[in-house]
Amino acid sequence: MKDVYLLAIESSCDETAASVVKNGNEIISNVVSSQIDVHSQFGGVIPEVASRIHVENISLVIEKAMKDANMEYSALDGICFTQGPGLIGSLHVGVQAAKTLAFAHHLPLIPVHHITGHIYANAFVDEIKFPLLALVVSGGHTELVYMKEDYSFEVVGTTQDDAIGEAYDKVARVLGLPYPGGPQIDRLAKTGEATYPLPKPKTENELDFSFSGLKSAVIQSMDRLKRRNEEMIPANMAASFQEAALGQLWNRVDKALELYQPVHFVIAGGVAANSRLRELVTENMKKYSNISYTIPPLWCCTDNAAMIGASGYHAYLKEIRANEDVGANPSLQM
């Protein structure tokens, strides 16, 4: 089969990114411009919805991706882009860039769902086998996705309220830790013990998640300690929260593995970088000797455009195309 080269563009959140990907599993170039660098120049104020910064960055990022790949547009087979979900203003920038380039260079335009990108990011490090179960965990998503075959997605569990990464950020804020809160809590939890009792939320569908109650329970527990003039040990609170949050994740994964009997399990998304979650996966997968699993390297977990190229390749093969009137969809369903 002829090699397929795709230019991928991602701008759904804080990162402006472009990448050239070959056959969905080989990175030719990968450029990520994180706004976190820009924010630090302003002394730590983080305006996360700076779509203006995306506008300033996008041309440079795409140009660099093409230059790093040492390719002309005529050698590309298509342009894929993140259509959603994400921040509407940020998404627009990438969608417009992709549409303009596809129009100018007469290339097919391939819309990609951000989460499918996170799942397919695992293709860069491992061979993906089906049926597959993916746990997608990030600041905006907590989803269990079952893939019976290539490019078929069934969301079998999702959060009923807050995303897990969001709960981490909010609990971090209550504990007085800086943003982003995930790595901070992970670090602090290592020095503490899970001594504070926190609830295990029940959900109507046993594969769904709920983190809002856990967040409230942390706040209430801290208030109670304060009222009683008892000392609150931040490291222990961080550990208690982390064990409860990740315990809930694993509880659902366990049930889903039993129920769907996949041959492959992957984790994906920013929270997949959490060291305790990675430990839990390694420990708990021992009992599933017939299911292979992939814990992606850290660079694969955060937002990048290569993953959009990985997923976009399979969309390309399935002949999924967007018209020139396609728009960003901040609440896009898989």
Binding site: C13, V45, I46, P47, E48, V49, A50, R52, P85, G86, L87, I88, G89, G139, G140, H141, T158, T159, Q160, D161, D162, A163, G165, E166, K170, R173, V174, S212, K215, S216, I219, Q220, P330, S331
Partner: protein, 151 residues
């Protein structure tokens, strides 16, 4: 401005009250939600959405700041939590002024200039466990009518 106070004893009761509001709405409305983390702003909005015949699950919009749901009237759910210190134009006006739907704004202090003259304000205060004290402020005579019908 008229002020009303209600108490709810459980998460379910909060959602039922919100459902009742959603159920009686036929026209666009801006609702401002105040309350600390965990006070129940999203919980309330979930009930409201059901009352608007929205079947999709409403979850926290904190990450994407803005979510749209379609029911009897569209529901625009804005969460300005991450907008602290951001002063740029985000294009939310069209969902707030001359809107065709119900617009719920959480953490309104970060988008103060977007709030219209007439709006419904709900403040959720955390009591013990699932108990919540709710202060409702009707800003404008048309809003007062809605609240009279609701509570």
């Amino acid at each position: 401005m008229k002020k009303y106070t209600v108490e709810t004893n459980s998460r379910k009761e909060t959602q039922e009250l919100a459902y009742k509001l959603g159920n009686l709405l036929n026209d666009p409305l801006v609702i401002i939600m105040r309350g600390d983390l965990g006070a129940g702003k999203t919980t309330f909005t979930q009930g409201l959405a059901k009352g608007l015949d929205i079947t999709q699950n409403v979850n926290s919009p904190t990450f994407t700041i803005f979510k749209i749901y379609y029911g009897r009237l569209p529901l625009y759910h804005i969460d300005a939590y991450r907008l602290e210190g951001v002063s740029q134009d985000l294009g939310f006006e069209e969902y707030i002024e001359d809107s065709d739907g119900v617009c719920v704004i959480e953490w309104p202090m970060y988008v103060q200039d977007l709030i219209p003259e007439e709006y419904l304000e709900i403040e959720l205060l955390h009591q013990e466990e699932e108990k919540r004290l709710m202060h409702v402020y009707a800003h404008g005579t048309a809003i007062e009518k809605i609240v009279e019908e609701w509570l």
